[in-house]
């Protein structure tokens, strides 16, 4: 079984550009100010590809996958 991962947001870097939501809509929504709301729990295996795309798309490099738990 592969190790579970979670998405970590660098909240000081994040400016709410919203590209994460575009690249991984199943993992991100946005609050009323445009900042991402990350889905709870570990990233499902079938969403990892989208998560990695969102990480690369973030213009301020605020996203990272870290071990869950």
């Amino acid at each position: 079984m592969s190790k579970q991962l979670r998405l970590r947001v660098d909240w000081a870097a994040c400016d709410g550009h919203g590209l994460c939501e575009q690249w991984a809509p199943e993992l991100f929504t946005r609050d009323e100010w445009g900042f991402p709301v990350v889905a709870d729990g570990p990233v499902p295996d079938d969403a990892l590809e989208h998560a990695r795309a969102a990480i690369l798309a973030c213009p301020v490099l605020a996203l990272k996958l870290l071990p869950y738990g």
Binding site: R8, V9, D10, W11, A12, A13, C14, D15, G16, D31, E32, W33, G34, F35, V37, K64, L66
Partner: protein
């Protein structure tokens, strides 16, 4: 009903002067004895001696102190120990009183923690305003020759988040006093890759006492799991703010009695601090003042703060004042906190006003969920926890406010600083 007040202990504050002048090194050593000399396997021996001591952090989170020391040791690099005397809780008196009256007991604890991790440096963080930077610097100078680990004082802004562990670690490395992103615990890997152990001033003083006097003496008071004494700040609208040293596990009522608070007049107490929780009285009066006791009752020991709210004060208004203060104290780094906390304060103020617009309660609840877990530090989480506990403990009040009725003032029990902005 007021029982005989329990005597205030004198352990952490033993031999200190009521006028607040600090003990000299000689006076401190006459009171507590000299620091245990380094042994052959000093770091190992000190960590072994602390294992099972049950010493938990007194800054807020109550994390076992020995686990931080072990983590720093296992990280395999020599780092630093930060003594946190920069308490952000405006309601607390304890750390500034302890450091002001006997800086040497805290410095002893910091030396021992540094020796236990083979740290290269001790940094004592205090608010830059007031006399503490000079008191601590003088104390450091007095003991320079006998200290094993070099020590310096770090004055930081007197802001709420400046005392947060990652903000202190950042400031100790020459950065701004703002919370920092850290994907690993600071004790494992802090700024510049250095293991950074941040321990509250009272926690360090406890370590110094424990390692000098041993587990038997230390555990003569307290509970089996949480031995020793605790510094408690008691506030109410009717009594002067008071710092007490009490046995851990003593009922909440005893702390209020010792501070001459009339418990018959109370409706609730806020325990822990602004990141703490409201507990309804009289049910909470028998709750033991310990991590375990307060947790079981839905509260926290936090920074040892007990704020008593009278029946003629409005808990929702008092909470709204505290949340507005916390919103203003945001480091303004993280979007969800920067936007969400002012919105939460406004929604709560609307609710507390007694004339809330449609959907106000729903908005308060939604914002609590929205801000939680979405910041570099726990500032939004702590603020949301306070609001949630207020909604639960003052649930009947919420209904009254929604119906458009409230005539009670916020009162002064929470000692919310007036912020001019």
């Amino acid at each position: 009903m007021t029982a005989a007040a329990p005597p205030t202990l004198h352990r952490l504050l033993a031999g200190t002067r009521p006028d607040g002048r600090p003990l000299s090194l000689i006076e401190h050593q006459n009171q507590h004895g000299v620091l245990p000399a380094p042994t052959r396997h000093d770091a190992q021996d000190l960590r072994d001696a602390l294992r099972g001591a049950g010493l938990r952090g007194r800054g807020g989170a109550g994390f076992p102190a020995v686990r931080k020391l072990a983590a720093a040791w296992e990280a395999g690099k020599r780092g630093l120990v930060i003594a946190n005397g920069a308490e952000g809780e405006p309601a607390s008196l304890k750390d500034r009183t302890l450091l002001g009256r006997n800086p040497h007991l805290v410095l002893d604890g910091a030396q021992l923690a540094a020796r236990a991790t083979r740290a290269r440096e001790v940094v004592v963080a205090v608010h830059e305003v007031g006399r503490l930077p000079v008191v601590v610097a003088d104390a450091i100078a007095e003991r320079r020759r006998s200290d094993v680990v070099p020590t310096r004082v770090l004055p930081v802004p007197a802001r709420y988040v400046a005392g947060e562990a990652s903000a202190l670690a950042r400031a100790a490395g020459g950065g701004p006093s703002l919370p920092a992103l850290h994907d690993e615990p600071l004790a494992v890997r802090g700024p510049n890759g250095r293991p950074t152990v941040v321990l509250n001033a009272e926690t360090l003083a406890g370590i110094a006492l424990y390692l000098r006097r041993g587990p038997q003496w230390y555990g003569e008071i307290g509970t089996p799991d949480e031995p020793g004494s605790v510094l408690v700040t008691v506030r109410s609208d009717r009594t002067p703010a008071l710092l007490l040293e009490l046995p851990i596990g003593i009922p909440l009522r005893a702390a209020l009695d010792a501070a001459t608070v009339d418990t018959d007049e109370l409706q609730a107490v806020l325990v822990g601090g602004y990141f703490g929780a409201w507990l309804a009285t009289p049910a909470a009066l028998s709750t033991p003042l310990s991590h375990a006791g307060l947790r079981q009752a839905g509260g926290v020991l936090g920074a040892g703060i007990v704020m008593a709210l009278s029946r003629d004060e409005c808990g929702l208004r008092a909470t709204a004042e505290a949340v507005r203060y916390l919103a203003n104290e945001s480091a303004q780094q993280c979007g969800p906190c920067l936007n969400g906390l002012p919105a939460m304060a406004t929604a709560l103020e609307n609710l507390a006003s007694g004339a809330p617009p449609e959907g106000t309660l729903e908005r308060v609840i939604a914002l609590c969920g929205l801000v939680t877990g979405r910041g570099l530090c726990h500032h939004p989480d702590g603020s949301a926890a306070l609001v949630r506990s207020a909604l639960m403990v003052f649930a009947e009040d919420v209904i009254v406010h929604l119906a458009g009725d409230c005539h009670r003032p916020a009162g002064k029990a929470l000692n919310v600083p007036v912020v001019a902005r």
